[in-house]
Amino acid sequence: MNPTPASVTQAALARHAAEPGALLPILHEVQDALGHIPREVVPQIAEGLNLSRAEVHGVVTYYHHFRAEAPGRHVVQVCRAEACQAMGSDALMAHAAHALGCHTHGGHGSTSADGRYTLNPVYCLGLCASSPAVVVNDKLHARMTPAKFDKIVNALGADA
């Protein structure tokens, strides 16, 4: 049985609401459990922390890490920062966008039409001496090439 957004949020509130500055830990816990922060839990969090909905919504939308929409089944991040650019990450990003059927207009990510992949730019993974670097479903990969990228993506298998 999958936990509901309301029950996940209730558990996160119960665990953190008494801490000073509890909003970020609560949002992390909700997103870690659900993959995103559904709009319907915003009023619940606001009430639990005695904040306005606008304040909670403002925080969710301010931080790049938090997502209001469910991502694709596989989340791929490609580093676009300078050290990775120096080792060809622009070309790698273009390759990834083509391979996954995603676009990266305006510096933001997107999800492929079939909902299989979400591709996001990321600004530094701290692997700057092993550039370029990517993250595929929370696993780091460094010294990436288009050929290695394809191998990793193909190994994800046909899940749907």
Partner: protein, 523 residues
């Protein structure tokens, strides 16, 4: 036969090139062959081109093999890996590898040598000696040691750490805080990440000493969400330090309390700015605060707060353990001690190089780095992160020293060095700097919020194909005026320093902007 100790790093730069797979292959292959193995997951030595760097303990010392892939393991064992035998991937005794032997590792002395989560390893390598020394001192004497060491903030601003601590110590409040800024968002930097993953007790010890010095009882470490391994390691290290009474209600029986909380950031670059970080810790949008009041007077939750970077705190235990003079004796001018520098980008031998201040960029890029990874000539290096300048070859012989860099308008910052070869287009990198600022600006002040977007547009006009309607010198002047407004009118370094990479690109590489001569003369 005794089990042979083999080290396979757990640093995320090693994991990202297959260290877990190497460790698994070693265990499986040794088990199959009936060889007794004592596998230790150490931190990284910081020689990232050799990762996964496998080390074997032998009577001659630790012998290094790298870069090892899981597929190499059977052949390495055939060749006699467990006795440190010769092989194409063997580099001899680790400590004698020139890249390491030429360094002055003070802060990173334990890095890659110990199991990061072993308190016994930490204690056996001078760990907690600084805290024990601090517990025997009055708070003012601790502050004095840090002042005397000449330590300046390693996060980038280079403000004297001791003066900050003195201010917080003098402030009267029921609750004070110690906050570590581990939002290491600069491209080309990873020394904070290595510290948290590879020697976490050093950071905990440094923060605890700070708490004793200023009278704080609670601390926070604000770690970027892009560093999940660092967050996990720090959480575990705090739990172990608490269980061993290095943290908690009664630190080592002193009657002094210090509780440390790990907080995960959420991917906003500007939260590396200290007041935006405080807002974020308080559960709000990471919007920069106007200063004054200084955080040392009114910081987290309105209380006096010490805020330092990971490397600043990590430098403190040694200063207390060996004395301020020991640390101060390294370095040049007003830049005392050592800086863990990070060689990154298009560099053959990228990694962590800790040296006393005074080393030059040329020494780092060629003597340590071995030139570019691509084999092409190096064109420039950006020093000090995305807000640092691009240094042309004429500046590569300057000593790395806060004042010497400031004299040419450059910054040492957090010690990140991103190398670019001659295929780099500096107009694109300048445009990127403005675009990055537009994405990451908190939006509070106009020069940063609007200026960055206008900056992208002006650079696009400069780079557009020539037409009778474009007046290139005018657009260049416009870009300079815009940069001037951003430098002098922004609330924090985000907008205030974004012009540094832009103007250095324009001044030193005018040809990349289609300007035949340095545009100062042309305009």
């Amino acid at each position: 036969m005794n089990a042979v100790t083999v080290y396979v790093p757990r640093d995320s730069a090693a994991l990202a090139v297959g260290a877990d797979e190497v460790a698994a292959a070693l265990q499986a292959e040794c088990a199959r062959r009936g060889l007794a193995l004592n596998l230790v997951r150490n931190g990284s030595r910081g020689l990232f081109w050799l990762e996964t760097l496998v080390e074997v303990a032998t009577p001659q010392g630790r012998i290094a093999y790298g870069p090892v892939e899981a597929d190499d393991v059977p052949a390495l064992l055939d060749a006699g890996l467990l006795s440190g035998a010769a092989h194409a991937l063997c580099h001899g005794v680790t400590e004698q590898i020139p890249y390491l032997a030429k360094q002055e590792r003070l802060t990173f002395a334990r890095m890659g040598i110990t199991d990061p989560l072993s308190i016994a390893d930490y204690e056996a390598n001078e760990g907690f000696a600084g805290l024990r020394a601090a517990l025997a001192l009055a708070p003012a004497a601790i502050v004095h040691q840090v002042l005397d060491s000449g330590l300046r903030g390693r996060g980038g601003a280079a403000f004297p750490t001791g003066i900050k601590w003195k201010t917080v110590a003098a402030a009267q409040a029921a609750e004070k805080y110690v906050v570590c800024n581990a939002d290491e968002g600069d491209s080309g930097t990873f020394s904070d990440r290595m510290t948290m993953e590879g020697d976490p007790f050093m950071l905990i010890e440094g923060m605890t000493i700070a708490a004793l010095a200023v009278g704080a009882t609670r601390g926070y470490v604000y770690i970027r969400s892009e560093y999940p391994d660092a967050i996990a390691t720090m959480n575990e290290a705090v739990a172990r330090a608490t269980a061993a009474d290095y943290l908690g209600d009664d630190v080592l029986g002193s009657g002094r309390a210090f509780h440390l909380i790990i907080r995960k950031a959420a991917g906003a670059y500007v939260c590396g700015e200290e007041t935006a970080m405080l807002e974020s810790l308080e559960g709000k949008r990471g919007i920069v605060r106007a200063k004054p009041p200084l955080p040392a007077i009114e910081g987290l939750f309105g209380q006096p707060t010490v805020i330092n970077n990971v490397i600043s705190f990590a430098s403190v235990p040694l200063i207390l353990a060996r004395g301020a003079a020991f640390y101060r004796d390294y370095g040049v001018g007003r830049s005392r001690g050592t800086l863990p520098m990070q060689l990154a980008g298009n560099i053959k031998h990228g990694g962590l190089v800790e040296k006393a201040f005074g080393v030059t960029l040329r020494e780092l890029m060629f003597d340590f780095g071995g030139g570019s990874a691509s084999g092409r000539p190096i064109k420039t290096a950006q020093v000090g992160g995305p807000l640092g300048t691009y240094l042309p070859e004429s500046q590569w012989d300057l000593p790395i020293d806060y004042e010497a860099y400031a004299a040419v308008g450059a910054v040492v910052g957090h010690g990140g060095i991103v190398v670019h070869d001659d295929s780099a287009d500096l107009s694109k990198l300048a445009r990127y700097a403005m675009a990055f600022c537009a994405i990451e600006s908190c939006g509070k002040c106009t020069p940063c919020r609007i200026g960055s977007t206008r900056g992208v547009e002006v650079i696009d006009k400069i780079m557009a194909p020539p037409s009778p309607k474009t007046n290139k010198p005018q657009q260049v002047q416009l870009l300079r005026d815009l940069c001037d407004t951003m430098v002098h009118g922004s609330l924090c370094a985000m907008g205030g320093m974004t012009p540094y990479p832009v103007l250095s690109a324009l001044n030193h590489f005018p040809q990349d902007f289609g300007l035949a001569t340095p545009d100062r003369e042309a305009a």
